[in-house]
């Protein structure tokens, strides 16, 4: 009887969880949307990987592509990536775009800053171009976030064929870079001989979020298995490819080691891979039971993982929004406290998760 009751509980549990929120489609027919930002007037900016930046009005109307967006290299995983508003956007209208620049033989993750004037970018300035350039159209990283001091973090990938470069400080592949908003190097970066490097030993980080207490969370794709969530600290080595929980796509071991002194362990790793993409630290009020949790999108696993982190350790994990049956490219907390999702599709959507009507909490 007890077993029957437990079984019934497990069967109905997903519908109970699903009933706690509602999913609304804010906008549709976006071509492989990659990232979004919330404008002060309630509108959204959305990047599309083929190289376009659009505005989504409060009513869900999608604008024409903005003018002034730099030419991006669209191939493989390359294209237009993140959009981030300047902390003083209301005063200076500046924003930051990351993208794959270059051509098949010489391409690199690049960051520009620009002023948003209407539906056009003006005063576009290149802030950063990852060095060295590479000749593979994959593993760009490309997520950005601001630290509390106003400096900018950018994740970079290892370019796949250059994985050992992630351990070489002379290369900016497989790193998190930190620059000031004008592209200069902060004086307190950890490696004098690698001035822009903040942390190293990364494979292809696709999620970066800074909590209000200053904790920086990063997640990165492993190969076959070994996706990781890490707490980022300046100067740390996160191990790729010397240590990893993943196998190469060929089925071969990348390394015999999963840990080594001086190399950081993830707070969570996934095998098999979920292909994490996008992340937010949920610190709003609409879903009080998610307070302080990480919400991580998943491309391969087609869901959002809610990760409970307490004192730097993962204490729980829940799968959300599985009913969308869509690859999730980005997850954000809106200024209204709702959770915003981007689906990775040729006709991608902006989805908003809000508490279900009549729900007791939130």
């Amino acid at each position: 009887m007890k077993v029957l009751a437990m079984t019934m509980l497990l069967v109905i549990a997903p519908s109970v969880l699903a009933a706690e929120y509602e999913l609304e489609t804010v906008a549709a027919n976006l071509t492989f949307p990659w990232s979004l930002a919330f404008l002060p007037d309630g509108e959204l900016l959305v990047t599309e990987r083929p190289g376009t930046l659009r505005r989504v009005s409060v009513g869900g109307k999608v604008s024409e592509p903005f003018g002034g967006v730099p030419q991006v290299y669209v191939a493989g995983q390359g294209g237009l990536f993140d959009v981030l508003l300047d902390p003083e956007f209301a005063a200076n209208q500046r924003l930051y775009l990351s993208f794959a620049g270059g051509d098949p033989e010489r391409n690199a993750t690049t960051v520009v800053s620009a002023r948003l004037i209407g539906d056009r970018l003006e005063q576009v300035e290149t802030l950063l171009e990852v060095s060295p350039v590479k000749d593979t159209p994959v593993h760009y990283g490309g997520r950005m976030a601001f630290l509390a001091d106003g400096s900018l973090l950018l994740t970079t990938g290892d370019g796949f064929d250059y994985r050992e470069a992630a351990q070489a400080l002379a290369s900016e592949l497989g790193k998190v870079l930190r620059v000031n908003r004008d592209g200069t190097v902060p004086s307190d970066n950890p490696f004098p001989k690698a001035p822009r490097v903040f942390s190293f030993g990364h494979r292809n980080p696709q999620g970066l979020a800074v909590a209000s207490d200053g904790t920086v969370y990063l997640h990165e794709h492993g190969p076959a298995g070994g996706d990781e969530i890490n707490i980022l600290v300046a100067g740390n080595n996160y191990g790729w490819p010397a240590i990893t929980y993943g196998l190469d796509y060929s089925g071969a071991r990348v390394s015999p080691y999963t840990e080594w002194q001086g190399m950081e362990q993830p707070i969570l790793h996934w095998t098999p891979s979920i292909a994490p993409s996008g992340m937010t630290v949920y610190e709003a009020d609409l879903f009080p039971e998610w307070q302080g949790d990480l919400l991580v999108g998943a491309l391969k696993d087609k869901c959002v993982r809610r990760i409970e982190v307490r004192q730097g350790a993962v204490v729980g994990q829940e799968t959300l929004f599985r009913e969308l049956d869509a690859r999730i490219r980005d997850v954000r907390t809106g200024p209204d406290g709702a959770v915003y999702l981007l689906t990775d599709e040729p006709a991608g959507r902006v989805i908003r998760a809000i508490p279900a009507a009549g729900r007791g909490s939130g």
Binding site: A242, R253, P256
Partner: protein
């Protein structure tokens, strides 16, 4: 008579394909481990043996069938050509084995825009993979040597 001829070739091909795969996988592991050593982490003989064994099992699902298909096509072509150039039979099959593994890797690199077999990122690694096919081709030629030539 025909069935005996066919079985002999099938057995020879099986041996050739397995030898090619085993040698290619072993070589791939050693190249990958050398990169780890280059990063400053030691690899003991036991770790080397364990990792090699794991890779032999792990790579079998994808790399073995790819190599086998490539080898089959190449050996078939070499067999046809050897009808016109009997003296060059060994050379043709050795070249077929070498070329098939090289071609399999280059086609994968082209199709995926990356290098799926990490060892093949360097020319030395790629040629070593090809050398595994060379041995496979030689084995096939030896095991299917026509009686008249014996």
């Amino acid at each position: 008579m025909f069935w005996r001829w066919l079985l002999r070739r099938a057995a020879a091909f099986l041996v050739a394909a397995l030898a090619t795969y085993v040698l290619a996988a072993i070589a791939a592991t050693q190249f990958a481990l050398q990169r780890i050593v280059d990063l400053g982490l030691p690899v003991s003989p036991l770790q080397r043996a364990t990792t090699t064994g794991q890779d032999l099992l792990g790579m079998a699902q994808l790399y073995l069938p790819i190599l086998a298909v490539g080898l089959a096509v190449a050996l078939l072509m070499a067999g046809l050509l050897s009808r016109w150039w009997r003296a060059g039979r060994y050379l043709l099959m050795i070249a077929a084995g070498f070329g098939s593994v090289l071609a399999a890797n280059l086609i994968m690199n082209w199709a995926f825009d990356i290098t799926p077999i990490a060892a093949a990122r360097s020319l030395a690694g790629l040629l070593t993979q090809g050398a595994a096919g060379l041995v496979g081709g030689w084995l096939f030629a030896r095991m299917t040597k026509p009686p008249a030539a014996e």
